[in-house]
């Protein structure tokens, strides 16, 4: 219990002793929590050295005009010192507003947004459909599940090449289409069909993860809820709408967020499907990579600036997503 002090003693009411100074607080905190800090030290060190330091260095590079022609490099026995200079925010201004900014950044940005939305919608829709089918009592359910998980089980860099053979000019897909009397698009050469093919391959690769996660969610819904709703006369659609969907909410919000992040950052599929050949089908990640490593001279500064822009987009998206969830009183299951 505190006693109220009436006289002005310099102490506020209800306080026992002056708050310790910052140094003292740090010391106390350290005494109290030193073992926690000791336990997180390994990760803190690793992240500091491998993530924070490169990130700061990358930020610095975006403020310069570093390319492979003016950075420090060793040719044979001669070491050439770096000659790039500080140019402030010019890289960002150039990317966002410079001449041909639309062709270099905004067109890729729009395509990336479309790609992410389309792929995640397809992943989620198909994944949910298959999960619902697999959640019934069916003969051969385990076998179906085994087969349907295959695209996830085989590494992406392997299956993309399988798709490349199938989509190639004269490959099996076009042969089949011609056999059916349909036109055979140039999958790997025409921009529209390149984009179509990229979404198709990514959908094929990404559905199993959604399906398995949502199946786990479906199986955790209490069966008595279905019984109760059935007793109350709900038909199949109403059961789905009022029992299944709410039951899947926390899993859904999580897998959709993960799906958006992964799809937005998807590198391997587009990189391996087209290599350096399809400038218009590149999403921002692969485009940034091409600027930095897929051309001569390598434009390190612009590539790093793209990287920082991408990260900003993702962080903004995630914070909005979380805020939107909080407003709807939902929790991320992370």
């Amino acid at each position: 219990m505190t006693v109220a002090i009436d006289r002005a003693t310099g102490k506020r009411r209800g306080e026992r002793e002056p708050r310790p100074g910052p140094a003292q607080r740090l010391k106390n905190g350290f005494h109290k929590h030193w073992y926690a800090y000791a336990m997180i030290a390994p990760v803190a060190v690793v992240l500091g050295v491998l993530v924070v330091y490169p990130l700061v260095y990358g930020l610095y590079l975006t403020l310069t005009d570093a390319t492979s022609l003016n950075t420090a490099r060793t040719i044979g026995v001669n070491h050439i010192d770096a000659t790039y200079k500080f140019i402030g925010l010019d890289n960002y201004a150039d990317i966002l507003w410079g001449p041909t900014a639309y062709d270099r950044f905004w067109s890729h940005f729009l395509w990336t947004v479309f790609w992410t939305a389309a792929c995640v919608a397809l992943h989620y829709g198909i994944g949910l459909g298959l999960a619902l089918l697999l959640n019934q009592k069916l003969r051969g359910r385990t076998l179906y599940r085994m087969i349907l998980v295959l695209p996830w089980a085989v590494p992406t860099f392997v299956t993309v090449f399988g798709w490349r053979f199938m989509l190639a000019d004269g490959g099996v897909i076009n042969t089949a289409l011609e056999g059916l009397g349909l036109p055979a698009p140039l999958w790997l050469e025409d921009t529209f069909w390149q984009r179509f093919a990229a979404i198709m391959v990514n959908t094929w690769c990404g559905v199993p993860f959604m399906m398995v996660s949502l199946l786990g969610g479906l199986q955790s819904i209490d069966a008595s809820l279905y019984e109760a709703s059935e007793m109350d006369g709900a038909n199949a659609w109403q059961r789905f709408r009022y029992v299944t969907l709410p039951g899947l909410r926390s899993v859904s919000t999580t897998v959709v967020l993960l799906g958006v992040i992964w799809t937005f950052n998807q590198f391997a599929i587009i990189f391996l499907l087209f290599g350096n050949t399809a400038p218009d089908a590149q999403i921002l990640v692969t485009w940034a990579y091409q600027l930095g490593f897929g051309q001569q001279p390598r434009d390190y500064a612009q590539s790093a600036a793209y990287g920082i822009l991408l990260l900003s987009i993702l962080i903004v998206f995630t914070s909005f997503y979380r805020r939107w969830l909080n407003r709807n009183e939902q929790q991320l299951a992370i």
Partner: protein, 302 residues
């Protein structure tokens, strides 16, 4: 499911035409039509999932590099020539060695470094806790484009380009925070009372972690290890950029060498792809149950 027959007071929604007149379908049973439709859709989906992989397998048996254009001819000349060639005359075993070094190195560092942190953020609240969690979360969202340029510069300065250590370190940027998350999720499922009992018996926090919790958390560590393994195995961007000499290529890079701008040895590529895919898929099937529970841990709690 119980199969009590529905009385005449059945809800209207249940009264679809029964399979046989006079026979009332029990709860949880479906009409034959619905069953058939389900099977039809699942079979179509399974074929779609299976086809690209099966196609690779089929093409790998055709000895000529242009066989993919007229697959019908492969039937007449099925052979294992491509496999023999890949195993004897390409860098397949070099790639295997490199892949194993990089993948196991990454997994080991990821799990060892992240374990104590996962425990700390699961059990303790300390100043800076929220910031650390936020950093762990954001780091997983990093597009490769963010770190690849500065990392390339830093590794060049340190002479670590084209070295296994360099690639392992770069892989750790994503693996370590993810492992910490995964393990936190697993430690959260271990009752706190165990820690308290340990502390009452005179163990330090470190002792509690090492002697009591770690042995209990083995499944969680395994999930983190599997995940690291699969991620490092499938990593394309860093490996393609940082590995320059062909005896140090991982599989993800080595497979690309079959397609150059002038010549594509698709038959050899298909054979290599199959040789990589089979063990990788087998491994995945062995561990997949754990993976899924790990990935969405807590997500399925009602």
């Amino acid at each position: 499911m119980s199969t009590t027959t529905v009385e005449s007071s059945a809800p209207a929604g249940e009264r679809r035409p029964a399979t046989a007149p006079g026979k009332v379908r029990g709860r949880g049973e479906r009409s034959r039509g619905a069953s058939l439709a389900s099977h039809a859709v699942l079979i179509a989906a399974s074929l779609t999932a299976l086809f690209p992989v099966a196609w690779l397998l089929f093409l790998s048996l055709g000895p000529d590099k242009d066989d993919y254009l007229h697959p019908g001819r492969i039937w007449g000349k099925l052979s294992l020539e491509n496999y023999a060639y890949v195993l004897q005359d390409t860098g397949f075993f070099d790639w295997l060695t490199s892949t194993l070094i990089v993948v196991l190195g990454t997994t080991l560092i990821g799990v060892v470094v992240a374990a104590s942190t996962g425990y700390a953020v699961s059990r303790m609240r300390f100043p800076g806790y929220r910031k650390l969690m936020w950093v762990l979360l954001v780091t997983q969202m990093f597009p490769i484009a963010v770190l690849i340029v500065p990392m390339y510069q830093i590794l060049s300065d340190l002479q670590l380009i084209d070295s296994y250590l360099g690639l392992i370190l770069v892989n750790c940027t994503t693996i370590v925070p993810y492992c910490a998350w995964l393990m936190k999720g697993y430690f959260d499922t271990i009752p706190f009372e165990i820690d308290e009992a340990g502390r009452v018996d005179g163990l330090t926090p470190f002792g509690t972690f090492a002697r009591l919790i770690l042995p209990l958390a083995k499944p969680g560590l395994a999930v983190a290890a599997f995940y690291s393994f699969l991620t490092a195995f499938g990593e394309v961007a860093f490996a393609s950029t940082f590995m320059l000499s062909d005896d140090k290529y991982t599989f993800a890079v080595g497979l690309q060498t079959f397609v150059s701008e002038h010549d594509a040895q698709r038959n050899l590529m298909a054979a290599t792809a199959v040789l990589i895919a089979i063990p990788a898929a087998l491994f995945f099937y062995l561990v997949q149950k754990n993976l899924v529970t790990g990935l969405t841990a807590g997500g399925t709690k009602g």
